[in-house]
Symmetry: C2
Amino acid sequence: MARPRAFDEHHVLERAREQFWATGYAGTRMDDISRATGLGKGSLYGAFGDKAGLFHRVFDDWCTAVVEVAREHLTGGPDAEALDRLSGYVHLMAENSASDTERRGCLLAKGAAELAHQDPAVAGRSAEAMRALLALLRTEISAAQRHGDIDRDADPEALAALLLTVVRGAEAVGKAGLAPEALRTVANTALGLLPLTGGRRRRVTERGPSGEDQGDTP
Amino acid sequence: MARPRAFDEHHVLERAREQFWATGYAGTRMDDISRATGLGKGSLYGAFGDKAGLFHRVFDDWCTAVVEVAREHLTGGPDAEALDRLSGYVHLMAENSASDTERRGCLLAKGAAELAHQDPAVAGRSAEAMRALLALLRTEISAAQRHGDIDRDADPEALAALLLTVVRGAEAVGKAGLAPEALRTVANTALGLLPLTGGRRRRVTERGPSGEDQGDTP
DNA sequence: TCAGTTGTGGAATGGATCGTCCATAACGTA
DNA sequence: TACGTTATGGACGATCCATTCCACAACTGA
């Protein structure tokens, strides 16, 4: 009963995200979102409460997506390929940061930077995402250790925290203006320094034509 | 001739920085700054132009300070202590991020996150700071290689980029909510994975009571 | 001491912005 | 088809905010 919504909520959130992503929370006007989505203020406020509510919804969805990407790339395969999955994920994230020529960065980082200090909901949600990413990385590192690719004596929690820091750090330094090639190098360097065992051991930090791919992962 | 300024510019910039740091660029009102500094609008605009000008000034000073801290910790010593200087710097930065319980993060990261996409001045200044930090780290890594502490075959540029990413990444994940102990661990892990030589080789990634300091640097 | 110049604080201004309100539209149900 | 309910969109009100303006203060040089 009653009139049904004429808009696709998912589509509206997507447009709203574009706005918040480009100009931040405080820098985005509800009129911008109204124009970008084609929705009138009445519908916007009726559906999402207020500006903060809309942002929380967008931010929450983004955090979910970030963790989901990690989950897709890191889980669901044999231990024998765990190291390749880790490598693939780290390279993918570095490539994302490197190819972000517009310097928009990641909304998770941007939102946390702008609001974590003032908004407990944002602070909590971003912290939850960090914990989830850390857990996914730790699980894969343990898998690679089980298969003997990574030194069994290494602390998986510590290595996971390092890789998470490298991935998020690449985003940060990329946004701050470090050259894209340098970001790709960072992924190679970090992966090359992991305490690998036997046949997996490599020396990706050797001098040479910089930025070349070691060919182990896309 | 003419009436002299009654305020200390340095002091005013300090207070303005506190405001921008806490609430970001768009989230800070000139009234806030007027109240925080005790300066009337007339003086504020007379001295700094407008809001953007004031922010640029604050941001520029902050970037200078960030690079200066690195310079103080990384330069001016014998090659024999280069590795210790690197270790000290990375630990210091991680500790800074870990002890930032208010989640304010670093103004360099916060400003770049909010404005790099829209403001070329901010984008340029942050990129310049990144290049300067990278150069300082590379120089010290080369010094440690000359002295034989770090593997001479390693690419100093790549290792510098990695350490920069770890340092800035620690700030980012800390702001996003990763546990402070994890940040301290990250510094140890990253330093422990550097391709050290002979007597300098350590195994800081071994499992054990997590977060313990290896005792090599404050 | 007087004139000229620059600094100071806060009121005033004009435009932007969040959120509300309301007349109307679109649907299910009786 | 008539009615109750929810959606829509844009005008509107109240506030906020960056910037300007101005009357006055403080200082220097003559």
